[in-house]
């Protein structure tokens, strides 16, 4: 096998073979392969370099030397990749070359340092912000952003006072990446420069507070589309960070004043954007402005599943004034638009559109049939019951469910029609129909016809009937439910446990205690929750007895139930669960204990901060901050120093911010 072969695979295998030779004797060849024309071969060579650990100074210097290979981009990229992967060990060597006369080399080194993310080289990168070469300065700013160390902040802000637009542009991005607050006085002047506006708004979106809202509202009037959209996104991001009462005064009211005007029109026209993040912000803004001209543009945005729920919110805010335009568009609308329109007809109680909804029940699209069925259930026009009943045989399950849901809406207004329908269904051959009967009888609170269905041969019918019983009042309900706890199907027993828990009352105690011994953990869990809600302290000893052999969700529910029934005095087993092997259990114990103050923290602090599961550590620091307030700052600092999980780190940083 030869490195000089014309066959890519042969060359690759040659490099693989080199791995078994001592590195010094093969360095030359491996370097040659690092510049091979095939990326497969190059990758193999980089792997070979990385295998040779630790790295001699000569090797590192040779890799750095390869960065000068301006005529062979492949070799240079391989060297970059290798140096980045070598990481900290390469840093001193890299730094020693930051004064090299070749600006390209300096730039490469800065990029590599940034990707290694080593904060030791921070001062060197800061110094490079004053490099003679523009590209090097820009790279320095960019990589300071990547490293994300706040100590770079004052230096970056100084750059903003200078003159180079391109550099300032990069600094703005870097500031956003670092994410630490920046004084508005440093940023506001940049808006004078039209090229910097987009980046400045982006930066404000990440860092800004209430103070920059006037600037952002003004930014909605920007002529340039990208600046306008950036201002819109920033506005909504800053809004999210405000307390609710300020959101409306500082953002929503000023937006509402734009209704009917040219700015609103421009924003509505922008709803054509492709970028979902931009659209999300614009839809919220347009919805708040409340301008009916937005009807069709919003409806089109609804086609995207991702944006549908913000759009519907926007529709709600604009209100019924947009209905005429939506209805006019209906005949040519795509299915999803027809579905949304049907929903809005129901939400706004729009009279005169019933025919449209009835016709919609025959639509080709299941989505439209479903929406129309639900809408009819809400509006309850005459004649709808029969039509909805027909849909119980629809081919699509989601349509059948919607029809049933719609029908149940008529329990109060047309009980007789519904009751006749139930009678017919309850004697049907198909279990699915009898199940529908049970659910309709539940909506009718019919205590007379439900009991036979509780004994149906089909488990899904029994389950529906048992669930329906929860809402029905008649003397033997509880005894029916108790009996259902002995059903052979766990689903039916589960429905019975739910029903008993939902009903509550003294009669439920006995059956729920029996359900504690069910073989199905979910039945047990439900019974435990029911007992906690009942609050009969007499049940405590049964629950404590369960703790010894319970696990998973049963144990979790039992811990809260013990606390709910026994209060502070009963917490010993909960504290014991803090050292349970299942992280879900530990988390639940933390939550339960937190409800009774912080007395337990000291004894378990170290163990929980060092818990192997990130979720436990996260819950614990939350509890710590909540229960101990400012007192917890030193512990949180210590936790942050030892924490490697990003999500937990973010949490601790946020908590510290709040406490300081």
């Amino acid at each position: 096998m030869k490195l000089g072969s014309r066959d890519e695979e042969e060359r690759r295998l040659a490099v693989v073979a080199l791995r078994s030779h001592p590195f010094p004797s093969s360095t030359q060849l491996i370097f040659k392969a690092m510049g091979d024309e095939s990326w497969r071969v190059r990758k193999e060579a980089v792997t070979a370099v990385l295998k040779a650990q630790p790295h001699e100074a000569e090797v590192l210097e040779a890799l750095i030397g390869a960065l000068r290979a301006s005529e062979n981009a492949g070799l240079r990229n391989s060297a970059v990749e290798a140096l980045e992967q070598i990481g900290a060990a390469a840093v001193p060597h890299l730094c020693a070359h930051l004064n090299d006369p070749d600006p390209d080399l300096r730039k490469f080194i800065i990029d590599i340092l940034g990707n290694i993310g080593c904060d030791k080289c921070l001062p060197l990168l800061v110094r490079a912000l004053d490099d003679d070469d523009m590209n090097v300065r820009v790279a320095a700013a960019e990589n300071l952003g990547k490293i994300g160390d706040e100590r770079a902040l004052p230096h970056l802000l100084t750059v903003l006072e200078g003159g180079e637009i391109w550099l300032k542009f990069t600094v703005l991005d870097a500031l956003a990446l670092i994410g630490a607050p920046v004084p508005l006085v440093s940023l506001a002047p940049l808006l004078k420069e039209s090229l910097l506006r987009r980046a400045t708004y982006d930066c404000l979106g990440v860092l800004g507070d209430a103070q920059c809202l006037p600037i952002l509202l003004q930014g909605l009037q920007e002529k340039a589309k990208n600046a306008r959209e950036a201002a819109a996104m920033a506005l909504m991001r800053v809004r999210e960070r405000l307390p609710a009462e300020k959101q409306s005064a500082l953002v929503d009211l000023p937006l509402q004043r734009l209704e009917g005007g040219p700015v609103a029109k421009k924003l509505i026209d922008s709803l054509h954007s492709e970028d979902p993040m931009v659209l999300d912000a614009l839809v919220r803004i347009v919805g708040t402005i409340g301008d009916a001209r937005a009807a069709l543009p919003l409806l089109r945005v609804c086609r995207s599943e991702r944006l549908r729920s913000v759009c519907i919110d926007a529709f709600r805010r604009v209100g019924p004034s947009l209905m005429p335009e939506l209805l006019e568009h209906f005949p040519t609308a795509v299915p999803i638009e027809r579905g949304v329109t049907a929903q809005l007809i129901a939400e706004f109680g729009h009279v005169g559109s019933e025919k449209l909804l009835f016709d919609g029940l025959l639509d080709d699209s299941a989505e439209v049939r479903r929406s129309c069925a639900l809408a009819l259930g809400r509006l309850k026009p005459a004649g709808a019951v029969t039509r909805l009943a027909e849909l119980l045989d629809d081919g699509e399950p989601q349509v059948r469910e919607a029809a049933l849901e719609g029908l149940r809406g008529f329990a109060a207004t047309e009980p007789a029609t519904l009751s006749a329908l139930a009678s017919e269904l309850m004697h049907a051959q198909l279990p699915a129909k009898r199940r529908n009967a049970a659910l309709i009888l539940g909506a009718l609170s019919d205590g007379e016809r439900l009991p036979p269905l509780v004994k149906d041969e089909d488990a899904s019918v029994r389950q529906a009937a048992v669930s329906s019983l929860a809402r029905v009042e008649f003397p033997q309900v509880v005894s029916h439910l108790a009996l259902a706890l002995s059903d052979e199907e766990p689903e039916v027993r589960l429905a019975a446990a739910h029903a008993l828990s939902d009903r509550g009352g003294p009669d439920a105690l006995g059956p729920l205690l029996l359900a504690l011994n069910d073989t199905d953990p979910w039945v047990q869990t439900t019974a435990l929750k029911g007992l906690a809600a009942l609050g009969e302290s007499g049940a405590l000893q049964n629950v404590v007895a369960l703790l010894d052999h319970a696990s998973g969700p049963v144990l979790i529910a039992a811990l809260s139930t013990v606390a709910a029934l026994g209060g502070e005095k009963a917490l010993a087993p909960v504290e014991k669960a803090l050292s349970h092997g299942d992280e879900e259990v530990v988390e639940a114990a933390i939550e339960v204990l937190s409800g009774f103050g912080g007395g337990w923290i000291a004894a378990h602090c170290d163990a929980l901060l060092a818990h192997p599961h990130w979720m436990v550590r996260r819950s614990f620091v939350r509890a710590l901050a909540m229960l101990k307030g400012a007192e917890s700052v030193p512990i949180l600092d210590r936790a942050l120093a030892g924490e490697s999980d990003q999500l937990v780190r973010d949490e601790i940083i946020a908590l510290l911010d709040r406490l300081r």
């Binding site: 695979e9 990758k43 991702r306 549908r308 639900l374 953990p521 979910w522 969700p553 999500l647």
Partner: protein, 289 residues
């Protein structure tokens, strides 16, 4: 019942818990960009099971007695099961024209041929292999086992049923349909002659215990499955394949899949029609760590 908009949203934390759980179970890794996908698709499951939210759903996935079934159901929601008969023709030609003749010679003594189609989705792949072998017609008196497996319960049922619609036949020559299918139930049903060669079973490629039941294989097809996996999972699965293959056996991956950076224990063999991986007989080598 909500119209369109979900009331619940997957939090960062729940996303991570559920993602990690799925990852450890079956190697599928969802990055931050897929949070939205998980949010939308799994919400239906939360509602279906009448759960209060994603946290409870996570507990369900972790503890429920039907958790295996549930995970297999969500596989269906989260991955594509796209497949069709005679997919990747040049590779199949390499199989019939080069690999099979070699095996036929090699195994003339014990007269058995064992082929595994791992991640076979609705079964088109194992049935294709069976049809090709029947077409070759030189295995009279041989024992031929073709095992098709997939993690998804739903596709496995479909594969067992063996009835296919138009989309499955986009690359099928008319003569195959004539010879191996009968029209029925609004589709085409695969004939018993083909069916006899094929066993379909539900199997998670990460379930070591189940995989051990398979026994040694001469050829493994695992096409368009590991694209969903990250490097660690790929390594795990490929190692399992290595252990399942007889020395000298072949591993056929999909078009866009390779073992680069995953293992050196297979040799890339250049056939006339395709490049395939072969388990070399030497016992050294192994999965790159």
């Amino acid at each position: 019942m909500p119209f369109f908009e979900p009331e619940l949203h997957l939090t960062e934390e729940e996303f991570r818990l559920i993602r990690d759980l799925i990852y450890h179970h079956c190697g599928l890794f969802f990055d931050e960009d897929s949070k939205y996908l998980l949010d939308r698709r799994l919400l239906q499951r939360v509602t279906l099971h009448n759960l209060s939210g994603f946290r409870e759903y996570y507990q369900f996935l972790k503890y429920d007695r039907k958790k295996e079934q549930e995970i297999s159901d969500i596989m269906d929601l989260l991955t594509t099961n796209e497949t069709y008969f005679f997919r990747e023709a040049f590779q199949l030609r390499a199989f019939t024209d080069e690999i099979v003749p070699e095996l036929a010679k090699l195994k003339q003594r014990d007269r058995t041929l064992r082929i595994w189609s791992a991640g076979c989705s609705t079964g088109e792949e194992p049935y294709t292999i069976a049809m090709l072998l029947l077409e070759l017609g030189c295995f009279d008196g041989w024992r031929i086992d073709i095992v098709g497996s997939d993690i998804s319960h739903r596709v496995v049922q479909h594969a067992r049923k063996g009835v296919y619609g138009k989309a499955s036949f986009r690359a099928t020559e008319e003569r195959y349909i004539k010879r191996f299918f009968t029209e029925s139930e609004g589709g085409y049903r695969i004939n018993d002659e083909v069916r006899e060669l094929v066993t379909i079973s539900q199997m998670n490629l990460f379930d070591q215990n189940r995989l051990a039941l398979l026994g040694k294989m001469d050829v493994i097809f695992c096409r368009n499955v590991i694209i969903y996996f990250d490097e660690t999972s790929k390594k795990k699965v490929i190692e399992a394949f290595y252990n399942t293959l007889r020395g000298g056996g072949y591993l056929l991956l999909g078009h866009s899949e390779s073992l680069m950076n995953i293992t050196t224990s297979f040799a890339l063999k250049h056939l006339k029609n395709d490049m395939v991986y072969q388990k070399t007989d030497r016992t050294s080598g192994g999965v790159v760590t």
